[in-house]
């Protein structure tokens, strides 16, 4: 739940910055996943509490899950701004761009050293500080890619990371920088 809720917040800001409804829809979809997990967790916790005749762990887990669920709700609130058919106010975009953790996107060009390698092999997050949070490949999206996700020429990568890492990230995608 923690992983998904964090991905949701990142995606919600991405949806806003790129005024992209598909990303915003994904945030709503992930919210359904979170809710499912949340209900399952509640059931499991209570069943165990009855079995073990101890309610404290169940109470703690449920309270924690409730907070994480509330975090994911905030992400949905942000995503809804994009889904409302009114272009987000320019000041919102500027504020996200200027924040110390930025979100950016870049297309992987022919000759980029990222092409045909998995995210795990590249170790991009450790080496550049940039986390790939989504990939657009042709008409479909890969949200929250894993270590095994392969990057291909033509992919559009959405990444978040420190402002200092943004230029290097763009140059890696374009093929200008040959070393990570």
């Amino acid at each position: 739940m923690k992983n998904i809720s964090e991905l949701m917040v990142d995606l919600a800001y991405s949806a806003l910055i790129f005024n992209n409804k598909e990303i915003a829809e994904e945030v709503k979809y992930l919210e359904e996943k979170i809710d499912e997990t949340y209900y399952k967790l509640q059931e499991a916790a209570i069943e165990r509490a009855i079995e073990e005749e101890n309610s404290a762990p169940a109470l703690i887990l449920i309270r924690l899950a409730t907070s994480i669920e509330a975090i994911s709700d905030s992400a949905v609130e942000i995503a809804n701004v994009v889904l409302r058919d009114i272009e987000p106010h320019p000041v919102l975009l500027e504020s996200i761009k200027e924040s110390d953790i930025s979100i950016t996107r870049a297309r992987v060009r022919e000759g980029s050293i990222l092409a045909n390698k998995t995210l795990g092999e590249l170790n991009l997050a450790s080496e550049t500080g940039m986390w790939v949070i989504a990939i657009k490949r042709g008409n479909y999206w890969i949200f929250g890619p894993t270590e095994n996700t392969m990057i291909k020429v033509g992919d559009i990568l959405l990444a978040k990371g420190p402002i200092e890492g943004v230029n290097h990230f763009h140059n890696l995608c374009s093929g200008k920088d040959k070393k990570i």
């Binding site: 992983n3 917040v9 762990p57 924690l64 272009e87 000041v91 504020s95 450790s126």
Partner: protein, 190 residues
């Protein structure tokens, strides 16, 4: 009066920090950090209020009002997020014997939180966070520093790392392993 944009930059940064600190407080079982989370929540509430006022002053016609409403919603979302983060640290009020499993809950999270102690012989002693560019170079972000009994939250670029500091970092496992070796002086930063 601060511009809406500056207020939004602040609220975004602080709402990200508060979530990281809330999880850190749980993992490290730190009352100090929990208190900082509560302070941050107040700051974020305050920022939300300021954003609301500035935004309302900016609307000249219905179209503008519709666009500006989006800003209010984002500010509200940040406030709710801060509120949820604060609820997380309230779990520390529960008697410690009832919650032994709490710190280990997030062992499998994608981005883990760790504490790294800086030894006097480490190559990063007396160097500035900004100069080291830690996040870009290692993929871990320093979210707080414990120095003696004092805490520095979300340290600025000009903060120098000192011997015996405890850095609270969040990010990749590789980055953490590297930082741990550098902190012990087993590997040089450069």
């Amino acid at each position: 009066m601060e511009s809406v944009k500056d207020l939004l930059v602040k609220i975004k940064e602080k709402s990200e920090l508060i979530v990281d600190l809330a999880y850190s407080a749980l993992i490290l079982d730190s009352e100090d950090m929990a208190k900082e989370v509560e302070l941050l929540e107040e700051e974020i509430n305050d920022l939300t209020y300021k954003i609301k006022i500035s935004t309302m002053l900016a609307a000249n016609n219905p179209e503008e009002a519709e666009q500006l409403a989006g800003i209010l919603e984002v500010a509200d979302a940040a406030k709710n997020l801060a509120n949820a983060a604060t609820d997380i640290v309230y779990l520390l009020d529960i008697d410690i014997t009832m919650r032994p499993f709490l710190p280990s809950l997030f062992l499998n999270a994608d981005e883990k939180i760790h504490a790294v102690k800086i030894y006097p012989n480490s190559s990063i002693v007396d160097r500035k966070i900004g100069e080291l560019n830690i996040e870009k170079e290692t993929g871990v972000r320093v979210i707080a520093i414990k120095r003696g009994r004092r805490w520095i939250y979300d340290p600025e670029d000009y903060v120098r790392i000192k011997a015996d500091d405890i850095l609270i970092i969040r990010g990749t496992e590789d980055g953490y392993n590297f930082m741990e070796r550098v902190a012990r002086g087993e590997e040089s930063w450069d």
